[in-house]
């Protein structure tokens, strides 16, 4: 039992927490956009159409979320199984390969993967999905490997000496101890995905990036701002949600201090 439990998220506390506020703001803006017409008309008097109405913003939000969820689930599943496979005897030989792939993810920008998916698969939702999944795999793979490596060798040693089978070792020692770093990797992957999914509008996917791109090509700053605020709010809300998840999953245990210094990829 962890020493500090996360306090349950009941209804009254939800609105006092920044997570509650950001989700609220997101939903209000998504569904209430048409009603903000007077506000934007006042801010941008020179624009004939100050509010993005070509597609319902709420629909774009759900499509964006859907794309992110689908690709992230696939990416996390793939990456975690690949990372865990390196702990097995047969998987050991593949560890250097996994590490190389994971490191590659830190140099190749996701835009590149997105762009390269198009010649391979064409326009639309599919290259976006493939690119997002492929790119989402790398941070999670790196985090899984790092998490497994962060388990102190003395703990592994004594667990084995106590007679734990390899499976028990994995389930009871390695996974719980690798969890903080792994979760940090998943978090990075999902947040990067949210950004890349927005850019995916350039290849034909219908996401929250569409108002931004429409605004950019049509010199409509209002559209750009509306799209940008939605994407930004979504990212912040997701980040806060992960904060909460981390608290629930591993309480006061921090991820080890020597994490690789993470950067921004999209």
């Amino acid at each position: 039992m962890p020493q500090t439990r996360a306090r349950p998220l009941n209804a009254t506390r939800l609105w006092a927490h920044p997570l509650g506020w950001s989700v609220l703001a997101l939903l209000v803006l998504a569904y209430g956009l048409p009603h903000t017409q007077p506000l934007f008309a006042a801010l941008f008097p020179e624009l004939p159409r100050p509010v993005y109405l070509q597609e319902p913003m709420a629909e774009l939000l759900w499509q964006h979320l859907g794309l992110v969820l689908l690709s992230s689930t696939a990416a996390v599943t793939l990456a975690t199984s690949a990372g865990l496979a390196t702990t097995r005897q047969t998987g050991q030989a593949f560890k250097p390969l996994m590490e190389t792939l994971a490191n590659m993810g830190q140099t190749i920008p996701p835009v590149a993967v997105l762009a390269l998916a198009v010649p391979a698969v064409g326009f639309g939702e599919w290259p976006a999905l493939i690119a997002l999944t492929l790119f989402g795999v790398l941070p999670v793979l790196q985090a899984t490997l790092a998490g497994l490596a962060s388990v102190p060798p003395a703990v592994l040693d004594s667990a084995r000496a106590m007679g734990m089978s390899p499976r028990q070792l994995l389930m009871e020692v390695q996974i719980p101890l690798a969890l903080p770093l792994w979760l940090a990797g998943v978090r990075v992957s999902v947040i990067v995905n949210i950004g890349t999914a927005a850019i995916a509008s350039t290849v034909g996917a219908k996401t929250l990036g569409l108002p931004i791109l429409t605004g950019l090509s049509g010199f409509n700053t209002a559209y750009v701002i509306q799209g940008a605020v939605m994407v930004g709010l979504l990212a912040i809300a997701t980040d806060l949600a992960f904060d909460r998840l981390a608290l629930v999953l591993h309480g006061d245990r921090q991820a080890p201090a020597d994490q690789p210094i993470k950067g921004r990829w999209s």
């Binding site: 039992m1 003395a154 703990v155 004594s158 667990a159 000496a161 106590m162 007679g163 101890l177 245990r253």
Partner: protein
């Protein structure tokens, strides 16, 4: 209980252990002693198959250890190491309960056992059960480590330099605790150390190793009085071997009746000869009064008497 027969091990072309023949009797505390790199940790790890041996046989209760299922074998042996290896994500109670849980003991029995173990290691169950390892001091962590090793009532307790990383005061306290536990439970303990004084204090028998070979095995007194070769004599203390012998011999047989008024300085009747001489040197006297646990005078002891046979 454990027999090494012509055991050898090669590691990357270099012979780590050569022709080891050693028999460990049930109930004894055998210390594997030697300089760094002599292979003592390797010998220990061969017993629970953390390290495989290349030649010879190792028998556990008469049966070859390779014939056991490796996990079953390990669950019958306790293992305590220098860095404790406590699970950071589990409480003290959960750590101690690890092997009993692996053996499918019923929960109530496990809980009772955890309490017993903590009490055995002089830790209050109420205070410590729910703490996490990082909230404990080094000495407390090591106590939990030992408790965890003893939890499932193993046949053998394997200890690899468990107290070496602790400060001298904590180390001394834990050594005494271990000695007490050995006396109380009668467990077979295999203990690795490079510290001669620790070995002399704890061991019923010492096996001295050098570069993978067994140099000598015997009781501490035997090793001090009849070292097999120069190395043994040197290692055990050529210049203060005599003092080391004195640390193994109790005062009691040398207590004489009082002659005249009791001496000013007193010594407990349970002290060793080394402690007696040390006290005499401190106060620059040659006679001390011996007192019992209630400070009543039992007799006296003189410096000359101590050096008698």
């Amino acid at each position: 209980m454990i027999s090494f027969q012509r055991v050898s091990k090669c590691h990357e072309g270099v012979a780590a252990i050569t022709d080891l023949n050693l028999h460990i009797q049930a109930g004894e505390l055998l210390v594997l002693l030697g300089p760094s790199g002599c292979g003592k940790s390797t010998v220990l790890k061969m017993v629970n198959r953390m390290v495989s041996h290349d030649g010879g046989e190792i028998l556990f209760n008469g049966k070859n250890i390779n014939g056991f299922d490796v996990q079953d074998l390990r669950r019958r042996m306790g293992y305590a190491i220098q860095s404790t290896g406590l699970f950071p994500h589990r409480t003290v109670a959960q750590n101690i309960a690890t092997v009993p849980s692996l053996l499918d003991w019923e929960p109530r029995r496990v809980q009772a056992r955890v309490k017993d173990m903590l009490t055995l290691l002089a830790m209050d169950p109420k205070e410590f059960s729910h703490r996490l390892p990082h909230q404990l001091s080094g000495g407390q962590q090591q106590r939990v480590g030992v408790a965890r090793a003893l939890a499932a009532d193993p046949d053998v307790l394997l200890m690899d330099e468990p107290f070496s990383a602790l400060d001298p005061v904590t180390r001394a306290a834990l050594q005494l605790s271990l000695k007490e536990i050995h006396r109380a439970t009668g467990k077979t303990i295999l203990f690795v150390t490079h510290d001669i004084d620790e070995a002399l204090l704890l061991a019923t028998r010492i096996a001295l190793l050098k570069q993978g070979r067994l140099v000598q095995v015997g009781t501490p007194l035997e090793l001090l009085q009849q070292p097999a070769n120069d190395f043994a004599a040197d290692f055990l203390g050529r210049s203060d071997g005599g003092l080391k012998q004195l640390s193994l011999r109790p005062l009691a047989p040398h207590i004489k009746a009082l002659e005249g008024a009791p001496a000013l300085h007193t010594i407990s009747h349970t002290a060793t000869l080394k402690e007696t001489i040390s006290l005499m040197a401190t106060h620059r006297v040659s006679v001390l009064s011996v007192v019992d646990d209630h400070k009543a005078v039992l007799g006296q002891v003189q410096a000359a008497d101590l050096l008698e046979n």
